[in-house]
Amino acid sequence: MSERVQMRAPWGEVIEVEATVEALSPLMAHGWHQVTEKEDIDNANQDAGAAIRSGVQEAN
C-alpha cells in the first residue's frame, strides 16, 4: 500500500490521498499542492502574527 500525503486545493481544502499516479495526477494537474511541514509552520506563524496584530490594535 502506498504512503498517504496531504494535498491542499487552490481554495484551501486539505485532503489525504494515496501517493500514486492515479490519485495524485488529477489533483496536481488542477492546482492542488502538497501540504508540507514548512507550509504548516508558515501558516502557524501567520496565525500568530495575526493574533499579535489584533492585540496591538486593542492596546491602542
Binding site: V5, M7, A19, V21, S25, M28, A29, H30, H33, Q34
Partner: protein, 340 residues
C-alpha cells in the same frame, strides 16, 4: 600553465532557491559527473556606440556593458538522482512521499491556469577550476531554471546508450568566488537502457523486442529576454534578469522500432487512435524513473533502414488530458528534499 578541462568541478543545487536572487547554500549542493566540458561561466554582453550619431564618424569610440547572461547544458549518463532532479526542476510541481532509501517524487508540469506559479523553481550551479587560493574559475551561477530536458536511449552495451541532456538558463546573477566548497562526487545509480519497459497504445515494445531507440523530452521555452525588465536588477554595472517565465511548454516522445507484420503504428496514425504511453527505467526497487503520458496519439511515422533492417521512426504527440494533465513522472532515489 595549461589547464585541462577535466580539472573542472561542477556543482548543482538539489534544493530550490528561496527566490531568484538568493544562492543555494553549500549544504544544498551536489558535485556531479558529466559528459560535456561546458561550464556555466557567466558572459557579459556589451554594445558599442558604432551605430550612434553625433561622434562625427561611423566608428566605435566606446563599449558599454549591457547585461549578464548565464546558463548552460548538462549532459550526463542517466541516473536515478539526476532523473529525479530533472523532473522536479524541469516540470516544477513535486509531491514527495516515502522515506530513506525510497524517496518518491511525483512530478507534473506547473499549470498557471489552475493557480500554479509561472516560474519554475530556481537553483544555483557552481563552476570551478582549481578553486581556492587563486582559482582559474570559481563561480556560483544564481537563479537558474531548466529550459529543457531530453532522455535519450539507444541500442548498445555502453552507458552512452542511456543519457540525459538538460539545458538551463541563469538570471545572470553570480557570486565570484562562489564561496562554496563542493562535497565529494555524488554516488549515482545508473538507469541503463537495458532496464527500460515501454508500452504505448497497448503495445508492449519490450516484449516484442522491436524497440531500437527512444527519446523523451520536455521543453519549457523559457522567456529569457523578457526577464530583463525595468527594475530587474543589475550587477557590476550590467543588467540581470528578475524573472524567468516559462513559455509554451511541450512534451516530446519518439522511438525507432523494427517493422512488424503488420506495423501497428500505421493504423494508429491513420485512425489517430488515442491511448496512454508509459516508459520506466529501473536500477532497483528504490531507484527508478517512470513517465506516464495520459493521452497520446501517433503524430508521424517514417520508414527507413538501420543496420540492414527495415525500421519505423514513430513520433508520439502527447496530448492534454482534461483530468490528468499532459504527463506525470515518478522518480525514486535515496536523496531527500530534491526540489524542496
Amino acid at each position: 600553465m595549461p589547464i585541462r578541462m577535466q580539472e573542472q568541478q561542477f556543482g548543482l543545487a538539489f534544493r530550490k532557491q528561496t527566490n531568484i536572487a538568493t544562492a543555494n547554500t553549500e549544504a544544498q549542493m551536489w558535485r556531479l559527473r558529466k559528459t560535456n566540458a561546458q561550464l556555466p561561466i557567466p558572459t557579459l554582453q556589451t554594445e558599442s556606440d558604432a551605430a550612434e550619431y553625433g561622434k562625427g564618424h561611423p566608428y566605435a569610440e566606446q563599449v558599454f556593458l549591457t547585461a549578464w547572461r548565464s546558463g548552460g547544458t548538462l549532459e550526463k549518463y542517466l541516473s536515478a538522482e539526476i532523473a529525479a532532479w530533472a523532473m522536479a526542476f524541469g516540470l516544477g510541481k513535486v509531491v514527495k512521499s516515502g522515506t530513506s532509501p525510497n524517496f518518491t517524487y511525483t512530478c507534473t508540469p506547473l499549470n498557471p491556469t489552475a493557480g500554479d506559479p509561472d516560474e519554475l523553481p530556481y537553483f544555483t550551479a557552481v563552476a570551478q577550476i582549481r578553486p581556492g587560493g587563486t582559482p582559474a574559475a570559481d563561480y556560483a551561477v544564481i537563479g537558474c531554471a531548466v529550459n529543457s530536458w531530453q532522455i535519450t536511449l539507444g541500442s548498445g552495451p555502453s552507458r552512452e546508450n542511456s543519457k540525459i541532456t538538460i539545458e538551463y538558463v541563469g538570471s545572470g546573477r553570480f557570486n565570484q568566488p562562489s564561496g562554496i566548497t563542493l562535497p565529494t562526487t555524488l554516488t549515482e545509480k545508473f538507469l541503463s537502457n537495458g532496464s527500460l519497459t515501454f508500452s504505448a497504445h497497448g503495445t508492449d515494445y519490450i516484449a516484442t523486442r522491436r524497440l531500437l531507440t527512444l527519446e523523451a523530452g520536455w521543453q519549457n521555452n523559457l522567456m529569457v529576454d523578457q526577464g530583463y525588465y525595468p527594475g530587474s536588477g543589475s550587477q557590476n554595472g550590467a543588467a540581470v534578469s528578475g524573472r524567468i517565465l516559462f513559455g509554451v511548454q511541450a512534451a516530446t516522445l519518439k522511438f525507432r522500432a523494427m517493422m512488424d507484420q503488420p506495423t501497428p503504428e500505421i493504423q494508429r496514425l491513420q485512425n489517430q487512435t488515442e491511448g496512454t504511453a508509459t516508459l520506466t527505467l529501473t536500477y532497483d526497487v528504490n531507484n527508478s524513473l517512470s513517465i506516464t503520458y495520459h493521452r497520446a496519439v501517433v503524430r508521424s511515422i517514417e520508414f527507413t533502414e538501420a543496420d540492414g533492417f527495415a525500421v519505423v521512426d514513430c513520433e508520439i504527440e502527447p496530448l492534454y488530458h482534461s483530468t490528468n494533465g499532459i504527463l506525470t513522472a515518478v522518480a525514486k532515489c535515496n536523496v531527500d528534499n530534491i526540489g524542496a
